[in-house]
Amino acid sequence: MSLPVQYVWLIPLLPLLAAGIGAVTPRGGVKIASAAAIGAMVLGFFLSCGALATALAHPAAHATANFAWFDLGAGTLRLGWVLDPIAAFMLVMVTFVGALIFIFSTGYMHEDERAKQFFCFLSLFASAMLGVVIANSLLLLFICWELVGLASYLLIGFWFHKPEAAAAAKKAFITTRIGDLGLLLGMLWLYDSTGSLLFYDGGHGVLEPTAVANLNAQLVFGGLALSTVIGLLIFCGAVGKSGQFPLHVWLPDAMEGPTPVSALIHAATMVAAGVFLMARVYPLLTPDALKVIAFTGAITALMGALIAVAQNDIKRILAFSTVSQLGYMMLAIGVGSWVAAIFHLLTHAFFKALLFLGAGSVIHAAHHEQDIRSLGGLRGPMKVTFATFAIGMMALAGVPFLFSGFWSKEAILHAAHGWEVSHLPFYMGLTAVVLTAFYMTRLMAETFFGKARTHASEHAHESPASMTIPLVILAVCAVALSLLAWPSPWLQHILDPKAHAEGGGAGLMVLSIVLVAIGIGSGWAIYGRTTREKATSADPLAARVPGVIAFLGARMKFDELYAATVFQLNAALATAADLLDRYVWDAAVRLLAQIGIFAGLVNRETDEDGLNGGFDATSESLRDTGKAYSRAQTGDAHGYLRTVAIGFVLLVLIVMLGGRR
């Protein structure tokens, strides 16, 4: 089974159709909408497997199918899709994880009366992401990118009757829009300088050596290469979408959406888009740009892990862990190993989806209680959720050998270690490893161990099969995906045959195993050995270092910082603009108006006295004539008909008599 690139557009089309079906089904048609959505994703998964088979047959080739969209003055705007291993892997991942999340949603959302719209939005979301993946044109990618943003807005704000959800949706939308502005600028600049937006076009694409060399050769301000600037602008988009520092603030708030949405955003679709974008445009990135990316990634990884330590909301912890892991991926790209980034993206997608769905299962079971201090003791009633969640946690924490997260994280650390520019990111990454293991252990200990601390968690019960089956499948995948990297790093070969496989690194592996052990051990020592007694009892760590924890708990005061700086600046600018408008421009306009009125006055005087007399007389007489004629308009149909008949007779007579002559 293989799917040629010419038909790869079918994969995003299917969920789009499902979204269309969902849009037109009546309100009660949840069954139809969900069946269409899941069916589209499952079918898309099979097609994606076909696409993967096609891509793996020729791993080095970037199979493309391009077509002209419309003529644009000088040139033709062309769009297209590309099918190479990276895209194919992403397709499989997105459809697979997406399908499982959809199935999970049927269980999670079955009580919601707008569930049908939910599936419609989900399908749109997945469709847009698949579009991003297969796009062979920065423009097409941008279109789908914005659709992803739109769908995320709709989904995060799905429960818009909650003010927090509405605010979170708005925040996510606007924050990512800031990044998208950079992406748009970069795209325009790229089109201006190369005349094309296609990635691969038989030697003419922007990612192919000719164009890249051309871009590298052009210098703009400050001695920077043009490609550096464009790359950084595009990176702005990725920063926004992937929640990198400093635009990460929307990501934790996006937890206000339903849990399957969180899972989809964090695992398969939205945040992955940024990393994918950077991996896609990697050939365009110069070492200068990569430095920025690497440091951004490292800072994000460390910051996310630190904040996660002090959070109490189960989903928020996972959200900051996502921020952190995305930082890892960016770090990997920055240090030049985009393969490791993609590998981590794939493994992270599975176990993060697993974790979020597990969290969703917990929340569903505990009657929408999300605070881990109020949970506890769920190990007993929710065995399946516990087991799968534990697998996910271990994968995220990087428990060695058996779990996929270990291998991908190892690959990133290895690449960071080998970076010539600086070792600082490497050390930041190592710190984050410890912290990751620590906070995940805390999460497990608080949620599943100890005893139930509130009424809700006491009465928790296992979720329905439609929720647990995806969990089990994802757990299996979270383990099985380590096969991609072990025993031999064939993913590396397939994705980037040119790169040389670095061997060794056993010492590094031992180091990271030790670090993970430290993290888990300390976490268990603090939270696991003596479990919390009451929901309100103080956090043991906060008791020791209260200031730090409070600062971290407030998410390093980023929101406040932005409120103090960006918003204030914005307000000041707006005030200035208002003043300018009101007193400068308005004054000028009023002056002009006064001049106009005066001219009008003069004009009227001459007009009325001089010119109008004759016209008045003419129109008076015209009106009289009209009145006279209107008397013929009696409304008597007979009269009309009679007149027509007589007129006809007269006409014929005239013609006949005239014809005689």
Partner: protein, 171 residues
């Protein structure tokens, strides 16, 4: 050849004339339907079978029903029964106008030299008509279809009663 034409023509005109003078509306309508049928007979005589049957189907079958329904739906008021004061004057005027038109038309017909070569009757087989309709006149056919649809909807809208409060036929 000529005799059937004359018979058809005389019958049709007579029936139409009687229809136009009767006071009983139903009789008028029925007689007029007869004259429509006479026109169909003329089409048949001229070899336009299809037009003849279309005439019968549309006029005798459909328009007649609309007319009869209209007559029945417009119950006659007492004022309709008495002769209007201006009826005689209007009748005279009508006769005058009609006579003038008739005279002019007859004059035109007689005065014009129609150079007709007596040809064999042209045939219009259904197949030929169908090909014309679907070929050269396809656009007109579509337009007529649209006109009919719009007219139907318009007629329904015009003739339907304005419902106050909407739901009066709730089951």
């Amino acid at each position: 050849m000529i005799l059937p034409l004359v018979i058809i023509a005389l019958l049709t005109i007579a029936v139409a004339a009687i229809a136009m003078t009767l006071r009983n509306l139903i009789h008028s309508a029925l007689l007029l339907i007869g004259s429509w049928a006479g026109i169909a007979a003329f089409y048949f005589w001229a070899g336009a079978e299809f037009a003849a049957f279309a005439q019968v189907l549309v006029y005798v079958g459909a328009v007649s029903m609309v007319v009869l329904f209209a007559v029945l739906l417009t119950r006659r008021s007492r004022a309709d029964l008495e002769v209007a004061p201006d009826a005689i004057g209007r009748g005279l005027g009508a006769m005058l106008a009609g006579g003038a038109v008739l005279g002019v038309l007859f004059g035109a017909v007689f005065a014009t030299r129609l150079d007709v070569a007596p040809t064999a009757a042209p045939t219009a087989s259904v197949r030929a008509i169908g090909q014309q309709l679907m070929g050269a006149h396809a656009a007109s056919l579509l337009v007529v279809g649209v006109i009919l649809t719009v007219a139907l909807l318009g007629a329904v809208v015009i003739a339907s009663t304005d419902r106050e409060g909407g739901k009066e036929d709730a089951r």
